[in-house]
């Protein structure tokens, strides 16, 4: 079984919102019609988005860290939003595990939003149907696109490659390797929803520089410093 998903590396996300805008751009121009924008240039603009980037501050000043946190539907393996849907509009695809809404069947009762603990679904106030991240299902299999572009729009847009896309059920895939080796984790594991999307934690990046690397013991310039006596010791450069 395939389970397509995203792995989001919080260590490299810089919070630039490129994934948010590219997601909106792709999905607002795709087949099901525009994603609503209300008051886009006025006070309190609002609208439907599939993806948002939030920001958190961890720790107490001055020992703080900033965490940028992209948030979208996690395409849960056991999605609680699906069985509650009275119309069958919400479903999880057998083929690749993507959780989708059939906009032609949805009655906009919002029951699924109550059942998603992550708040990943947003109603489109104009079309009056439920919308959520589709993992750009309309890109993934589109043969008209070059193969390298058959990926979610957010993944292509991310300037720091913080978003990795692939099959989390294939142990050899890039996403599985990242989850395994970089400590990938799921959000709110306590509810047993088994989100397919994983997050990679913040890591401390430390450089290990030995003193030797900063001050070269046998620096030839020092050896031949005319202000001092020339050393009798053999320098590295003598070998060449």
């Amino acid at each position: 079984m395939t389970q397509l998903a995203l792995v989001i590396d919080l260590n490299v996300c810089v919070g630039c919102h490129a994934c948010v805008t590219s997601c909106k751009e792709w999905n607002t121009s795709s087949e099901p019609g525009p994603l609503l924008d209300e008051n886009p240039y006025g006070k309190d603009p609002t609208g439907t988005f599939f993806n948002r980037v939030q920001t958190y501050e961890i720790g107490e000043f001055p020992n703080t860290e900033t965490l940028h946190f992209p948030k979208s539907c996690l395409h849960c393996e056991d999605p609680p939003c699906v069985p509650v849907c009275p119309t069958g509009a919400s479903y999880k695809r057998e083929k690749d595990g993507i959780v989708l809404v059939d906009y032609d069947k949805c009655i906009g009762c919002k029951y699924c939003t109550w059942a998603c603990p992550y708040g990943a679904r947003e109603i489109d106030e104009k079309q009056k149907v439920m919308k959520k991240c589709t993992l750009c299902v309309d890109r993934l299999y589109d043969e008209a696109l070059p193969e390298a572009e058959r990926k979610p729009a957010c993944v292509l847009a991310c300037p720091t490659s913080a978003r990795i896309y692939g099959d989390v059920h294939d142990p050899e895939s890039e996403v599985s390797t990242a989850i395994r080796e970089e400590g990938g984790y799921q959000l709110m594991p306590e509810w047993g929803t088994k989100p397919s999307n994983h997050y990679l934690p913040r890591r401390k990046t430390r450089m290990h520089i030995h003193e030797d690397e900063l001050v070269r013991a046998d620096n030839p310039l020092k050896q031949e410093d005319i202000r001092h006596e020339t050393s009798k010791e053999v320098t590295l450069d003598d070998w060449f």
Partner: protein
């Protein structure tokens, strides 16, 4: 959660309608075994039509909750997994049965089944079936809320019990008012039942209020974003003008407002109607009984508002600062 008036009216109206039918049928079955004086067919027919009216009003209210009501028929398809779908089936079923019950009484029909005539028991049997359907409908309505495990305020059998008791209470109070017009010899029967059910509902709704007051959220900001640190503060929720997430899941009112609603509903739903019913029965005053129903129903609107407002969705953790 943000309380939606469509759902508040839907649940309180059908609750009263269901309760009213149960009250009528209780009196009919008591009368069948000679514990109560028999009533005319019209009494049951008009009463059941009244219940049907309430159910229809609830159904109309529910339509306002849907974004695409023209597709509502699809909602019956997922009865295997969805309690909402089950309710969508149960509600018309109950309406149909109540209508049939009313018609049989009205025209004093005596339909034959497989060449067998039930005589005057036909409405008793049909009433029993209808009552079972009504309880099934209460179960569906309650389970819509009680089945969502993230909403801990609702995730309890008390949710279903309260729906049954509160619907039952308002229905029996309404039956008391109704009987004061058309069957004065039933006022005491309905009135005492109404008082008893209201008292039990008072107890069980207080139990759920006490339970809600002690609920601790399972999810924390730590599990929500997966960072193990005791000091985490949200600095931005990713948008400034609000979104569906900030509108649908928050009641947007102050704690004081919530507290006021709580006391208003407790006073209006329980002690006041009980007092009015009791005095109304003693001094035989119709207006008092009618006031009891109106005030209790108003109280139930406040009750249902608080029921929604009190439910704290785990997604709210992600929306703490603009």
């Amino acid at each position: 959660m943000h309380p939606a008036f469509s759902v508040i009216f839907l649940t309180t109206l059908i609750g009263a309608g269901q309760g009213l039918f149960l009250a009528l049928f209780t009196s009919e079955s008591y009368a069948a075994v000679g514990l109560l004086p028999k009533q005319s067919h019209t009494f049951y027919a008009v009463g059941a039509f009244l219940a049907l009216l309430l159910l229809i009003a609830g159904l109309i209210a529910s339509v306002f909750h849907l974004g695409r009501p023209e597709r509502a028929w699809r909602a019956a398809s997922q009865w295997r997994t969805s309690w909402l779908s089950r309710e969508v089936i149960a509600l018309p079923l109950v309406m149909g049965l109540v209508a049939l019950y009313a018609l049989i009484h009205l025209f004093e029909w005596n339909p034959m089944f497989l060449g067998y005539s039930f005589g005057d028991k036909v409405t008793l049997i049909l009433g029993g079936v209808t009552s079972a359907a009504i309880f099934a409908l209460f179960l569906c309505t309650g389970m819509i809320y009680a089945a969502i495990r993230f909403l801990k305020e609702w995730f309890s059998p008390l949710t279903i019990i309260n729906f049954i008791l509160l619907g039952g209470a308002s229905g029996f109070v309404l039956a008391t008012v109704y009987s004061s017009y058309y069957a004065p010899n039933l006022i005491n029967f309905f009135g005492l039942w109404a008082i008893a059910i209201t008292l039990i509902a008072w107890f069980s709704r207080s139990a759920s209020l006490a339970r809600n007051a002690r609920i601790k959220s399972t999810s924390t900001i730590q599990t929500a974003i997966g960072v193990r640190h005791t000091q985490i503060q949200q600095k931005s929720m990713g948008m400034m003008g609000g979104s569906f997430n900030t509108r649908e899941y928050f009641h947007g009112k102050t704690l004081f407002f919530l507290k006021s609603v709580k006391w208003i509903f407790i006073v209006l739903t329980f002690p006041v109607p009980i007092l009015l019913l009791w005095t109304g029965m003693q001094i035989d005053q119709q207006p008092l009984l009618l006031t009891a129903f109106v005030l209790q129903y108003t109280g139930l609107l406040f009750e249902r508002w608080l029921f929604f407002a009190q439910a704290n969705h785990p997604q709210n953790i992600y929306y703490q600062t603009v």
